[in-house]
């Protein structure tokens, strides 16, 4: 089938020196492709080649059926618009004037805007919530606002594809989410193909249809987001040794504390998360249990605890698991209980806590730990 945007054995690099080889991208309109990978891996180089800022070393980029190398800048401007990371400096330009430059490909010799152009500008500025900033000097707004103004510029260019280089870099979380949501809406409503690079894995996982992993000389992986975001793949891509990546939440945990644990944490249902992370910060190794395998605590504990006593999902705590927990607990001499509610499946955790008391171990509630 014909893809709107595809690359053919593309090799990119600077000054004739190849940096990344054999890039094969296939993207349909209305879909979002995200490039992830460590710093300096060449994400920007690929984006620059796609947007025709760099010549490809070999291979070709095709957009809308035509080869980019054979397209004029004017033809490109009707197909692709860009949002770049580089900070730019304007002189006495209002935000509206910056956005208006997006209409450049459609205006006449002198660049005078028609009413339609103005409507398009307003439309784009309203989409990214910067219409209120229209009279403000572009240099006197915040980085986050500036990034959105630049996105409005890209949108009012009426492209069929938008290329963005780390669009979330200077944004706080709220604007990161807003910006990505806008891109998703644009992709769906205007059937635009979006290609961008992102640093935030969690965001990349949520926004992307397809993901391209860039590292070293080749593309290490390329596929639908759900296939790419596995712990093994992410750890390998970023050479993660000291932390671990949780694919379900797209979150990272810090390094597991080392040493012989002197503490057993009874938790479950998310009650242990704060305690685990607190112990990690103070460098205290610990055991924890008994956790259901489907418990959120279990996901975090498996990254942080020396050992996690688990039970199969949705099952009552078995004798075997109980015995194992009891044994570890006795080794520790100190127990912290995070639970405040017990139900059918975890009622034996209460029993575990009572046993610890009877054994004369130091017992504390999680609230006391602070």
């Amino acid at each position: 089938m014909d893809y709107f945007f595809h690359t053919d054995e593309l090799t990119v690099g600077y000054d004739g020196k190849p940096l990344i080889k054999d890039i094969e991208i296939r993207l349909e309109k209305g879909r979002i492709l995200t490039l992830i990978g460590p710093n300096g891996a060449g994400k920007s180089t690929i984006l620059k080649t796609i947007a025709k800022y760099l010549k490809s070393i070999c291979g070709a980029v095709y957009i809308g059926g035509g080869s980019v190398a054979e397209m004029s800048d004017a033809e490109m401007s009707h197909l692709v618009s860009v949002v770049l990371t580089q900070r730019m400096r304007t002189e006495l330009m209002t935000c509206a004037e910056v956005v208006e430059t997006g209409r450049y490909p459609y205006t006449g010799r002198l660049g005078i805007l028609s009413d339609d152009d103005r409507a398009e500008v307003r439309d784009a500025m309203e989409i990214v919530n910067v219409w209120d900033l229209r009279e403000r000097d572009f240099m006197q707004i915040s980085d986050g606002q500036r990034q959105r103004v630049l996105l409005a510029r890209a949108i009012c260019q009426r492209p069929q594809m938008i290329v963005l280089d780390e669009p979330t870099s200077f944004l706080d979380v709220r604007y990161q989410l807003e910006l990505l949501q806008t891109l998703r809406d644009m992709a769906r409503e205007r059937n635009i193909a979006v290609v961008m690079s992102l640093h935030e894995l969690a965001l990349a996982q949520r926004i992307s249809d397809d993901v391209l992993c860039v590292k070293g000389e080749n593309i290490t992986h390329y596929g639908p987001a759900r296939e790419i975001f596995t712990p093994e793949l992410v750890n390998e891509l970023y050479d993660l040794r000291d932390g671990s990546y949780d694919t379900l939440f797209g979150s990272l945990e810090m390094r597991r504390p080392e040493g012989e644990p002197k503490l057993f944490v009874i938790a479950g249902g998310g009650t242990g998360a704060d305690v685990y992370r607190g112990l990690q910060k103070s460098g205290t190794p610990f055991y924890t249990g008994v956790l259901s395998e489907s418990d959120v605590d279990c996901r975090i504990a498996s990254a942080l605890a020396a050992k996690v006593v688990t039970e199969k999902a949705f099952c009552r705590i078995s004798d075997a698991a109980f015995a194992e927990a009891l044994e570890l607990l006795q080794k520790c001499g100190e127990v912290v209980d995070c639970l405040s509610a017990y139900g059918e499946t975890n009622s034996r955790n209460a029993e575990l806590f009572e046993r610890a008391k009877k054994l004369g171990l130091t017992v504390r509630r999680a609230e006391e730990l602070v």
């Binding site: 860009v82 002189e91 004037e97 430059t101 240099m139």
Partner: protein, 341 residues
């Protein structure tokens, strides 16, 4: 239309009207004032009627009017050349004089004058313009080489000033070895002055300056795109290579034309675009380009009036007067830029 847009339009109109008034006023003053003063009625009679005092008539028609046209055309050319260079280098204190482009033009013109004109007498304006253009391009080439290597704008300016000094030094050597007749010629000219301009000169400079300025005006759209930086301009469909070449050629041609006729004139190229943008409170090229031209004309008309009349019958070099008014503005521009860094 929104209110702020109406306000802005009103501001543009007010500024253009006041500049036009200043323009007309300065022309009238320039016609009337000088070693021989003309009353308003004399002036009108000489300009639009017959008769009037014969000496005055010839002073006005043969000396003052061509000189006024020179100030208008060359002043506008300088301001535009400065605006183009500022766009090209993305540096608000770039200009043909400070970057050594005027001095480069001056050097080559001096060489040509001494070598060729000293022997064959008579001046060929075309030859002067061509040699000034060659000199301007050589200096521009050096400045561009430096700009490519170092991206600090302060270094660019310092290098430009140094190139200017080198060219001036060589010009001085050449003048030392020239014969008497050319020395007098060269000395007057190399200090910068609108004096001694003939109607023939005016028609040549009008042709060059008006054509070039028209081309610059046609570039308003890509210049606007380029103000967002090269990458965005390319994304909007500007052919960057062709555009940059056009900027270099047009700005060099404008400053070469000025240097060929009036010698190097300082600071107009930086001061005028700066004032114009500050007045208009915008950098939209479609407005800034024509207003810059008008502003440059006014600036040079005013400075030439001062140069001619203040110590009359002695005449100051035009460059001293433009520097006196222009340099403080350049300092202000620099401070403003630094404040933003």
């Amino acid at each position: 239309m929104e209110t702020f847009e109406k306000d802005r339009r009103a501001r543009y109109i007010a500024i253009v009207l006041s500049l036009a008034a200043a323009f007309v006023l300065l022309i009238i003053l320039n016609i009337r004032l000088g070693s021989v003063e003309a009353s308003l009625s004399d002036t009108m009679q000489i300009l639009f009627g017959q008769g009037g005092d014969a000496t005055l008539r010839s002073v006005i028609w043969k000396i003052r009017l061509p000189r006024i046209f020179a100030a208008i055309l060359l002043g506008g050319a300088l301001a535009l050349s400065g605006f183009l260079l500022q766009t090209f280098f993305g540096n608000p204190i770039a200009g043909p004089y400070i970057l050594g482009i005027s001095s480069g033009a001056k050097l080559v013109v001096a060489i040509v004058m001494v070598l060729v004109l000293g022997k064959y007498q008579g001046t060929s304006t075309a030859l002067l313009i061509i040699s000034a253009f060659v000199g301007a391009m050589i200096s521009m080439g050096f400045v561009m080489l430096i700009a490519r290597k170092v991206h600090r704008s302060s270094i660019l300016i310092v290098s430009g000033v140094m190139i200017g000094y080198i060219c001036s030094a060589i010009t001085d050597f050449i003048v030392t070895f020239a014969d008497d007749a050319s020395i007098v010629n060269l000395h007057n000219w190399s200090r910068g002055s609108f004096s001694g301009v003939s109607w023939d000169d005016v028609s040549v400079m009008a042709l060059v300056v008006i054509c070039t300025s028209f081309l610059v005006f046609l570039l308003a759209k890509p210049i606007g795109a380029y103000q967002l930086g090269e990458s965005y301009a390319q994304n909007m469909g500007v052919n960057i290579k062709a555009f940059r070449i056009a900027l270099v050629l047009l700005s060099s041609l404008l400053s070469a034309c000025v240097t060929a006729f009036a010698g190097p004139i300082s600071f107009v190229g930086i001061a005028v675009p700066h004032i114009v943008k500050a007045l208009l409170k915008t950098s939209k090229p479609i407005l800034v380009i024509p207003v810059c031209f008008l502003g440059g004309s006014i600036f040079c008309l005013g400075c030439d009036l001062i140069a001619r009349t203040v110590f009359s019958p002695l005449e100051l070099s035009i460059s001293s007067v433009t520097a006196l008014f222009g340099a403080p503005i350049v300092i202000a521009a620099m401070l403003r830029k630094h404040g933003r860094d």
